[in-house]
């Protein structure tokens, strides 16, 4: 787990990475810089993931594979791994979450998040 997080946090501009239980919103593993409230990010990201999954099911777009929320002072990037990307009742899945600077290389972080998520399928 720590190796997967290492690869994500090694990308320039990434302030932290976490593995989050999609069902419970609880941190499984984390590597975060000081000042980031890991448990709060995990709980809220898992809640958002659940709602997004239902919205995408309703829209008929299929499961989400990556989402990117851009803020003024940073970005939140998430890849649902394992069963978290499946439909309702997908069960115990993992969210791979990265917190990054606003000018981070999104493509590179996405690649590392997808690689980390593959490890949990």
């Amino acid at each position: 787990m720590s190796t997967a997080l290492d690869l994500i946090t090694r990308v320039r501009g990434v302030r932290g990475a976490m593995l989050v239980s999609a069902d419970d919103g609880i941190v499984v593993a984390e590597q975060l810089m000081e000042g980031i409230k890991g448990s709060a990010v995990a709980a809220l990201a898992a809640s958002l993931a659940g709602r997004l999954r239902r919205a995408m099911e309703a829209a008929g777009t299929g499961a989400s594979v990556f989402w990117h929320l851009q803020g003024e002072q940073g970005a939140l990037l998430v890849v649902p791994g394992g069963k978290a990307s499946e439909g309702a009742g997908g069960g115990a899945g993992i969210l791979v979450v990265a917190v990054a600077e606003p000018d981070v290389n999104i493509g590179l972080v996405r690649l590392e998040l997808l690689r980390a998520a593959e490890a949990f399928i």
Partner: protein, 139 residues
């Protein structure tokens, strides 16, 4: 409660006295839940004592549709416990924990400081017991 999408919340003393509730529709439900929650707090505290460790901070149970979260904290005037029941469809343990921590911090800050707890008088106890029994049996 709204932000955590919690269905029921109860704030109580370890003795089972209810300080606040939300989501319950009947007084009997509140009293039953408070009595059961207080019993769980007492049981887990004793279990922790027998294991020679500090009391457990929180307890979580999850069923197929609902989960409950029971945690206690120490405020200025003694311990308080919070019982939350949530739907697994719209909430999660992490979310409930997050907002519980905020609630506990706010209750600690709101708790009167530097005052001595009043002795519970026998007359008060008898009156409260009578009121509770009357409510329980609908008199």
């Amino acid at each position: 409660m709204r932000e955590a999408s919690v269905r029921l919340v109860l704030v109580l003393t370890p003795a089972g006295q209810v300080l606040a509730q939300s989501g319950f529709s009947r007084a009997v439900d509140v009293m039953s839940a408070a009595a059961l929650a207080a019993a769980i707090v007492a049981s887990t505290a004793e279990l922790a004592r027998q294991l020679q460790q500090p009391p457990f901070a929180a307890l979580s149970h999850q069923g197929p549709k609902h989960g409950f979260f029971l945690a206690s904290f120490t405020a200025e005037r003694g311990s308080l416990a919070v019982l939350a029941v949530y739907d697994l469809d719209v909430s999660s343990l992490g979310l409930v924990q997050l907002f519980y921590e905020q609630l506990a911090a706010e209750l600690k800050a709101a708790s009167p400081k530097g005052t001595v707890a009043k002795q519970v008088l026998a007359a008060d106890f008898e009156r409260e017991l009578t009121d509770s029994l009357n409510t329980l049996f609908g008199r």
